[in-house]
């Protein structure tokens, strides 16, 4: 590469680098620094406390509950969303008369603003006026219906279902695109070899979609771990902290109680988890590219 071209490439890269640096890395580094200081609204002058806040946060029972809730929330949403998304994609990949219309309609939950979707589910879960309990009562399954979002045992499951409804169209779209790229010759060969639908799915379709599935799993994991509005609108992390996850806790500490240092500590933990997930994502991407190159 000529020296002039190298300079030019830096010039073109500079705006993007500055934007990413200012909007992403600067606040991220600021968060790490803030987590080493005791600072809140009432003590605005930061006092360096080293790892004290980490020790305090890690020792609290609330932290372990939030880690547990975040795991249940993320794993639950990711698995259900991807399974449902994949099954829906399989259905929409068939040549049915209304496939085109269904492909458009299926996107509806995903294109709805997050808060609107959450409010919709809050209404549906309402113990007295909600659609879900009214349906259960009509079916004769219950007299009154449970208070879905008010019970520590049901609130998380109810929140997961709402999030899956909101997010599964994303997975459907990704899987549908991948399904349409599966080599038809391989499928036809499998049919000629006498493979049934299930075998074709297990031994031809799924292996061909492996990279897309892994990438989609990772992407939805990152998005779900960071998902704020659904839980905030449905439960605000309650009842008795049964649905508090990292983003809701960070918001509550920072903007609800003005405890910036502790909010930053939770934020740093979030950054570490997300950085690990991102590293995994890039690893998968890298190996997929290498496989493609070696296949050529």
């Amino acid at each position: 590469m000529l020296k002039r071209d190298r300079w030019l490439s830096w010039v073109f890269l500079a705006p993007a680098m500055i934007l990413v640096g200012v909007l992403m890395y600067y606040p991220m580094i600021g968060t790490v620094i803030e987590s080493l200081h005791s600072t809140s609204f009432i003590n605005p002058k930061p006092q360096f406390v080293g790892l004290d806040l980490y020790r305090r946060v890690f020792a609290s029972s609330e932290f372990s509950a939030i880690v547990w809730n975040s795991c249940v929330w993320t794993i639950g949403v990711v698995l259900l969303q991807n399974t449902l998304g994949f099954l829906t994609a399989l259905l929409l990949n068939q040549r049915l008369p209304t496939t085109g219309l269904m492909r458009s309609l299926i996107l509806l939950p995903w294109v709805l603003p997050g808060v609107v979707g959450a409010i919709l589910w809050r209404f549906m879960y309402d113990p007295q006026l909600g659609l879900i309990n009214s349906f259960l009562i009509r079916l004769g399954l219950t007299d009154q219906g449970p208070a879905w979002l008010a019970g520590a045992s049901t609130a998380m499951a109810a929140s997961i279902i709402a999030a899956v409804w909101k997010g599964f169209p994303f997975s459907t779209v990704v899987y549908l695109a991948a399904l349409q790229n599966v080599d038809q010759e391989q499928i036809e060969a499998a049919i000629m070899d006498g493979a049934g639908r299930l075998r074709r799915l297990l031994y031809v379709v799924l292996p061909a979609m492996r990279e897309v599935i892994v990438t989609n799993l990772l992407l939805t994991t990152i998005l779900t771990f960071n998902y704020f509005d659904m839980i905030w609108v449905l439960t605000r992390g309650g009842p008795q902290n049964a649905t508090h996850i990292f983003p809701t806790k960070i918001y509550e500490l920072g903007f609800g109680q003005f405890r910036f240092g502790e909010a930053a500590t939770y934020g740093v933990f979030s950054i570490v988890v997300l950085a690990l997930l991102l590293a995994l994502y890039f690893l998968v991407q890298h190996s997929a590219v290498r496989r493609l190159v070696s296949a050529r």
């Binding site: 609204f41 009432i42 003590n43 605005p44 309402d126 113990p127 007295q128 006026l129 009154q144 219906g145 449970p146 208070a147 879905w148 979002l149 008010a150 019970g151 520590a152 609130a155 439960t235 605000r236 992390g237 309650g238 009842p239 008795q240 902290n241 509550e252 903007f255 609800g256 109680q257 003005f258 405890r259």
Partner: protein, 403 residues
């Protein structure tokens, strides 16, 4: 001709320069809790302030209540605070401790602004650490017991009985039948949960924080109130732990709930409904007077303001008896303005005034927001069936650890 043009231009320049040197723009922020057209009323009042104070231009920013805390906090932290704003009574101590607002003792003394012009609890909420940090702007009390008179009549319940612990419980039992609910209790994560909880504790003679700042929730009267709330929970709609005052309002408006707990600001909503409604002043044990919990907002001047003098002038204007009632969507904090406002806009003005004069503010602590969060968990524990003494001990452990 050329000289004339030059002379006119020079004069115009001098005039505009001197005008801009004298003119200042005062930034005023407030929040809106009801659909009352508050912003429009305030703009109109501002015009008369500007006319009386040439050179001061007021820029009014009205933020919806749910966004207000975050917007204001971000502005203060980022060094972009307005000159003057309303702040929730429960933020006063934190804003004062943070050094964000100016003490107003001297200005108030010079202007002759004294406590007797305001409701006692509202004035108390503006004081912290022996300084006055704000001037009460608007107030309300949590809570009045609003009732559906038709449902009470059908269940043969005397509305006056709702004013006592014993009567409310008995009414709850009678009214919870045939798919209807007696009492609109709620315990979601929100300040409405805390103010209702506090009013039951205060009315039973209990405290949230003792005078020395230690937790007062384990005292016998406080635990008594918690036990009482637990005992009336069966008469509330299902899902108390995630219910809020808004969801209780929906049930009340559709005729499924007999008694809801709201401040007086609920009245405009009920006036628009077809319900046959009325209210009693809170609930207390037999022989005691109900003590409500103050809600409301105080006007403060920010330390960072370059226009402190103008800001103080504006505060004096907004809290004047003839203005205060025109620029608030709750009840004016000025007693004279409140009297006129309530008589013109609310049912039962004397009962509301009696509640306002007997209400108590929430704890005046710079860590109040953390105390409030602990109280929400306490309410959820109690309604969830945890032993009241155990729940109070757990809450006190958390509150005392804040020190």
């Amino acid at each position: 001709m050329r000289e004339k043009i030059l002379l006119v231009a020079t004069l115009a320049l001098i005039t505009s320069a001197s005008a801009s040197a004298a003119d200042l723009t005062l930034k005023f922020w407030d929040n809106q809790q009801t659909e009352s057209g508050l912003s429009q009323y305030q703009q109109e009042a501002v015009k008369s302030f500007e006319a009386a104070n040439p050179g001061i231009h007021v820029e009014v920013t009205t933020v919806p209540y749910p966004e207000y805390q975050q917007r204001l906090l971000t502005a203060v932290q980022g060094g972009n605070a307005p000159d003057v704003s309303t702040i929730d009574q429960i933020w006063v101590a934190a804003f004062a401790q943070a050094g964000a607002i100016e003490p107003l003792d001297d200005q108030a003394k010079t202007a002759g602004i004294t406590s007797d012009a305001f409701f006692p609890g509202a004035w108390a909420s503006a004081n912290y650490g022996s300084h006055l940090w704000g001037v009460p702007f608007n107030v309300d009390v949590w809570s009045f017991s609003f009732y559906n008179a038709d449902l009470l009549k059908a269940a043969n319940v005397d509305p006056e009985s709702l004013a006592t612990f014993e009567g409310l419980k008995a009414a709850g039992a009678k009214l919870t039948t045939n798919g209807k609910f007696g009492l609109g209790l709620f315990a979601h994560k929100g300040e409405d949960t805390v103010v209702v909880l506090d009013s039951f504790i205060f009315s039973n003679g209990g405290k949230v924080l003792n005078d020395d700042g230690s937790c007062g929730l384990t005292s016998a009267p406080s635990i008594g109130a918690l036990k009482y709330l637990q005992s009336i929970a069966p008469y509330a709609p299902k899902g108390v732990a995630n219910a809020d005052s808004g969801s209780m309002r929906e049930l009340f408006l559709n005729g499924s709930l007999a008694v809801e707990f709201w401040p007086a600001l609920e009245q405009p909503t009920l006036q628009k409904s077809k319900l046959n409604w009325d209210f009693v002043d809170g609930t207390a044990p037999e022989g005691k007077k109900p003590v409500g919990t103050y809600g409301g907002w105080n006007l403060v001047v920010y330390k960072s303001s370059p226009n402190k003098e103008a800001a103080w002038k504006f505060i004096q204007f907004l809290t004047r008896p003839d203005v205060n009632g025109k620029v608030v969507d709750l009840i004016p904090a000025n007693v004279k303005a409140a009297d006129a406002f309530l008589r013109a806009n609310r049912k039962g003005p004397d009962r509301i005034l009696a509640q306002l004069n007997n209400a108590a503010p929430r704890p005046l602590s710079p860590r109040y927001l953390e105390v409030s969060d602990i109280e929400v968990t306490l309410a959820q524990d109690v309604y969830g069936g945890m032993d009241a003494s155990e729940a109070a001990a757990k809450a006190c452990k958390a509150i005392d650890a804040l020190k």
